[in-house]
Symmetry: C2
Amino acid sequence: MIEKVFASIITIGDELLIGQVIDTNSAWIAGELNQIGILLKHRIAVGDNREDILEALETEGKRSKIIIITGGLGPTADDITKPVLCEYFGGKMIVHEPTLAHIQHIFEKVLKRPMIERNHKQAEVPDVCTVLMNEQGTAPGMLFEKNGVWYISLPGVPHEMKWLMQEKVLPMLSEKFSGGVVVHRTLLTAGLGESFLAEMIQDIELSLPAHIKLAYLPNYGLVRLRLSGWGNDAHSLTEEILTFFNLLKERVKDYLIIDEDIPLERAIGKLLVAQKATVATAESCTGGYIAHLLTTHAGASAFFKGSVICYDNEIKKQLLGVTEDCLQQFGAVSSPTVEQMAIAVKKLLQVDYALAVSGIMGPDGGSPEKPLGLVWVAIAGPKGVKTQELRFRFTRKRNIELTAAHTLRLLHAAIVENK
Amino acid sequence: MIEKVFASIITIGDELLIGQVIDTNSAWIAGELNQIGILLKHRIAVGDNREDILEALETEGKRSKIIIITGGLGPTADDITKPVLCEYFGGKMIVHEPTLAHIQHIFEKVLKRPMIERNHKQAEVPDVCTVLMNEQGTAPGMLFEKNGVWYISLPGVPHEMKWLMQEKVLPMLSEKFSGGVVVHRTLLTAGLGESFLAEMIQDIELSLPAHIKLAYLPNYGLVRLRLSGWGNDAHSLTEEILTFFNLLKERVKDYLIIDEDIPLERAIGKLLVAQKATVATAESCTGGYIAHLLTTHAGASAFFKGSVICYDNEIKKQLLGVTEDCLQQFGAVSSPTVEQMAIAVKKLLQVDYALAVSGIMGPDGGSPEKPLGLVWVAIAGPKGVKTQELRFRFTRKRNIELTAAHTLRLLHAAIVENK
């Protein structure tokens, strides 16, 4: 077996430590490294503080062969990563002419503003690094080497960091560090909690060899089952994982949504495209969130036609023809109302499937008969319309997300039923 | 000056290291600790691996007085946090009767399923910890103490972790550790990049005392300016920060959105409520995302009436009366089309303000005349309708988010203009 190659991520910035910003970069970097067989060992966040940065460089350098550092490269006084790196690697700051020319170009052609001294400073780099030109912004990437360890400093702005990783860093890492291969296969399941799934597949899990791991990833009532293997040869590892993957797939078939690592809404899109069918939504309490999910991924125009977001009851009546009688007798959050909404939007937008939701997301608005978190959902399809009651008890944001996830599961089931 | 109290967060789980899951817990925990004067020093992520967990416990215990540990408490084989904690703190596993009773109750009353052996195991805890009863789920929280350091282990499921933090952990920490006070004040600005803002307020920044820091937090074309101070006395610190805050506010007034740390869409909601005005959206390329943002926060029904999501051109014609002529002559992504959409949805939903967007979000669909990332936006208000062209060049997801952010900025400007 070849040696595993480990990496660490150091994220720098006070905003990460006081909770003002969620770190989405690390997950993305981890996923990309993983694809080329480099295993993330450690992820560490420190503030904009000289001592903490120096200590992190020192300790992570002993732990991993590759250290990815993000953040703290901006033009303002709180950004100290560059001088601290310069100090740690024993260099002095010099102007990097190609970067200066690039920044000048951005100011002249894109921003159409004169450069100020701070922007000049962004073209300075320690003379002991290899510059990774950042065509997406003004802060250059930098590569340092010390005792065989690579330290790569990247801006924290997500799209700049991603561009530098994809265009510069990942190709270099692939060439320099041969980290073996990592293969993942994922099943998306719904309807059974992780402990029951674990019970159902226990014998398969116990039979896995040491280099293949099974993980349970629960999220919004769905559970992903992920097999991850590590080895030398992509072909034989893929075959080996496939054997266990097929065993799992057969075992959980009654709860299987799809045998790929894609979100539920993409699984729905694939089914609709295969059926040459279309969908629309009528949303009250989710305020467009379900439409947003359905249109997040490329290719949505093949199956998604549109929505009526009827937050106000007047819009329910006026655009969807929900009757005053129905609203008076049963209320906006009721089975008859969502049934009328789903049937109306299906007809109005001339689609094959329509969903409708109405509920009380909180934090205000509940009553003894209609408590906070009560939701009614309707799915209208070629075989008629079905309604269902849901109840949640979380924050507004989570109630909206859970309503969307459960409604999409019901939509998925209706489409599958119609195959 | 009293001593600063530092905390570390250790997140446990392979899913965080292979990039499958974005860690939103840490930012939330950091923000909550910060509110009670406890400063996050370090945040570290390790896999489901005994040695790495033990090492993290050891090193963070030397660094901080408070260690918050999340994840790895589930019922499946990849969850090893509990036995590793038991080993590290030298205990043995025992059944915690109140937790067992609670789990039995959940299975009988909520899940209506028989318990299996794995669920029994969730009631086991090391006999050297104080159990923090988790009323939101089956995995108990645990508090360990060693050499004056508190180690608090919580489930990784966000709503369970948050409940335990708010109900149990934060009150205990407030009482046990007096960490001084931390005060933040934030200005939300738009229209000027961070280097130009920095230039504009340089003298104020340089005049800040050592215990008050200024941070620039750019996001989607907006920049937050955050003053953070640390001290003993809440009242005097608040007063001191206010002085600098007012200086900044006056200096950046031409670019100021709001003098609070709230998202742009909430600033818009506040303005609309103050004007007793309402809003609606007509969205093509954003697919409901702007409506979702406007309805994310409590109280949206006071100003948001609804939307027409017209992804398909047929819906633009049918529901919003966009003319065939207009679509033929100018195309769906054009100034005349969004103008017709905005005027129509304003009239149809009887609102004071309406916005309309149509664009090409990618990755497919561009042409030489209408390139990828081209967006047209219209804002209709009491003073008429304005359109604007936007151009983005990022991924589909980012293009959608930037379109929403810029459109909301234009809406904000239109509402302010009408004050």
